[in-house]
Symmetry: C2
Subunit: 431 residues, 2 copies
């Protein structure tokens, strides 16, 4: 029986769990693969200690330096779970440059280096697998590559960040955003520094990976609008539920148009009001979900744990298995060729909007706010004014569908009104 060597760089929680699973599932993997996946090396700052704790046999070489591991152990498959950007970037260059196999769960690396990684793999015949980089254990990337290979992806709406979903769904239950975040941190669902999550940046990186896999094109970080949940307050969640029959979710959206050879993408990450009977409204706490719109299979919903050591390790094992199969058969990854992605100017995107502003409680303010929208031809669906709290009253507006450019101009006009404070919350509304 053939055997393929596997090396794991980075023995953090995911790395340790991947090593554990690789050894625990050895017999089943061998049966289904018709070949053996053999762990031959690990690399970690504390490789010796971690290897002992994992009970690894002496046949598994220990390295402090992952680059030395690649050069000396020369594994058939390399799992990269180092964290950060610079070391993974160098390791990816080394492995892909040699025509090897890199399995990674590093969405940041993929989002930033997508064209470079795809190019390096193409030049050297190397392979790159990254199921664990998006939505943890939810097998969405393989579905896009294989299961929807004969279908056409029209778009997706997805909850791709567990931290923000935890915070938003706890706000729905009445907690303040700060208390919800503290709770998520205590439970291990949020980082000590949650900026990348709260800003929408983490979800945006995952949207780049999904788009790259679906189209072959690069949705470069910074090339599409990204907004987080910092402005969303518990009262917005309450208002949305009680008055609008909606839930607040941080939704990463993609709409594809044009032929596959010249794809156009409308992409963005926004705090979004979804109807309570929308599939994303029932996704709670740290769970992730993707609503995938296809031409033939219709709307498909995938949901599950979006992060965590065990789900991510499950995805890493699947990557090892599937890539090892392809390697044994000499098959390249079933991906679209690299191509230029045309990004639809975000200002052209049409949707309904929600806007809450704080205004001095004096006559004429509501009329001035409504007037600002009218001047930009944004049609108002509803206005609510809450009784004043102290000196300020909340004015909450929903609009009919409107191009984002017009809404943004109206928002600037409103925030420039002397009676209106800068602090406000704007959200998109999904039909």
């Amino acid at each position: 029986m053939k055997s393929l060597s596997v090396a794991v760089a980075g023995l953090g929680t995911v790395g340790r769990e991947a090593v554990r699973l690789l050894r625990a599932r050895r017999a089943e993997l061998r049966e289904r693969l018709g070949a053996e996946l053999v762990l031959t090396a690990v690399a970690d700052r504390d490789a010796a200690r971690e290897a002992r704790a994992l009970g690894l046999p002496p046949s598994v070489a220990r390295f402090r330096d992952p680059f030395e591991m690649i050069r000396r152990a020369d594994p058939a498959l390399c799992v990269e779970l180092l964290g950060g950007l610079e070391a993974p970037r160098r390791l990816a260059a080394l492995v892909l440059g040699r025509g090897g196999v890199l399995v990674t769960a590093n969405k940041r690396l993929l989002a930033h280096d997508w064209p470079r990684l795809a190019g390096a793999a193409r030049r050297s015949g190397a392979r790159l697998a990254f199921e664990g980089s998006v939505a943890g254990g939810i097998p969405i990337l393989r579905a896009l590559e294989l299961s929807l290979s004969g279908d056409r992806l029209l778009g997706l709406d997805a909850i791709l960040n567990g931290t923000t979903n935890y915070v938003l769904t706890r706000c729905e239950e009445g907690l303040s955003a700060a208390a919800a975040l503290a709770e998520a941190q205590a439970l291990g669902f949020a980082e000590r520094d949650p900026s990348l999550d709260l800003s929408g940046g983490d979800a945006a990186q995952k949207l780049t990976v999904l788009t790259g896999l679906a189209t072959g094109g690069w949705l470069a970080p910074g090339s599409f609008p990204v907004d987080g949940i910092r402005a969303v307050e518990t009262r917005d969640a309450a208002f949305a539920r009680e008055r609008l029959g909606r839930a607040v979710r941080l939704v990463a959206s993609l709409r594809l148009s044009g032929p596959p050879s010249a794809p156009r993408a409308e992409a963005g990450v926004f705090p979004t009001l979804v109807p309570l009977d929308h599939p994303l409204a029932s996704v709670r706490r740290q769970r992730n979900a993707l609503l995938i719109r296809t031409a033939s299979a219709g709307d498909l919903l995938f949901s599950g744990e979006g992060a965590g050591a065990a789900p991510t390790a499950s995805a890493v094992l699947a990557d090892l298995f599937v890539t090892a199969r392809d390697l044994l058969g000499g098959l390249p990854a079933p991906r679209p060729a690299p191509r230029r992605l045309e990004i639809v100017p975000p200002d052209e995107a049409v949707s309904a909007f929600y806007l809450r502003v704080e205004a001095a409680d004096r006559p004429g303010v509501l009329a001035a706010v409504a007037g600002a929208l009218g001047r930009e031809r944004v049609s108002i669906a509803s206005i609510h004014q809450e009784p004043a709290r102290g000196r300020a009253a909340s004015v909450t507006i929903t609009t009919h569908p409107s191009p984002r450019a017009l809404f943004e101009r109206a928002r600037r006009r409103i925030l420039a009104l002397p009676a209106v404070s800068r602090r406000h919350c704007a959200m998109r509304m999904l039909a």
Copy 2:
């Protein structure tokens, strides 16, 4: 560039749509596959007419007889969409016997002939793909084969039949079961003869396919309990929602235990009360959904259109693509070896139950019903008695978790009471 010939047997709605997609997606499939999938032959009673209607070029051979098509066109991949059992069975034997590739969406064939088909494929090196046989366009089979290859399936709870889900969710909205079924038929979501759907038999066949793929073992039709929705009435749905906070769904369940080399399965299809916040409760109308429980990735939910020409054709295309890749690489399907499946005696399965009976409205009946349960040591969670309608009153009981054997004995005792009519509704309750 290599090319692989494809022949389609059966040009019904799914067959026509598969042919259309195969031709429409030719360029993308070629790019991702690195080879060409070329339609070379079709077989249908009306092959000539259908081929004309589809605009097929003269290079595509037309056959009235699918067996002749296989012998004469000798395709690399054969798509079987004939319908029925005997013709597909003979075609499968022919194709697999020659070491060919069979893509089918025929769950009945798979459920009945699982060991024979698996054996024939193993002997001849043939390939068999059947994503379209379970849950339409939801890519669940590939997920089990590939994406969860490094994980362990613990079990699943699934809505696998669109007809019954349509009927049950319309009953929830107040329609009678008969009116809901008529509506489903008018909309094309139910067959003219819906017996196989209403009896749970269709869902059971799909459960056999899922179990076979997950374990390598055969959950033979008839070897596990199957109950349908014929006894469920609109008032059961109303009672469940209002008094129990639950929804009625026809749920196919599988619990796996034991090592992968000697799997034990507890399997069944039952009308089931699920809590309103359970993921299956929000699956409405003709949609299907699978809640997959895994050791590492946690609970995964897949949901989408469970049937229909376009979703099934999408699955057929994915099968063609993935099997063609494997064929090009010389890789066998990544399935567990055939093995004996130990089926847990259904009487040992423990769950809570719901029972509604019609009883004469006279003193002592409720006590007699309660007594029958007590005698079998089935602990009662609640009893409701509805005001009499005519001469009979409804008595609705929920139990605490109890082995099915005891509940069944108590049910027989209750139905044997002189004051109780035979017509009744029994359901399982999911935690």
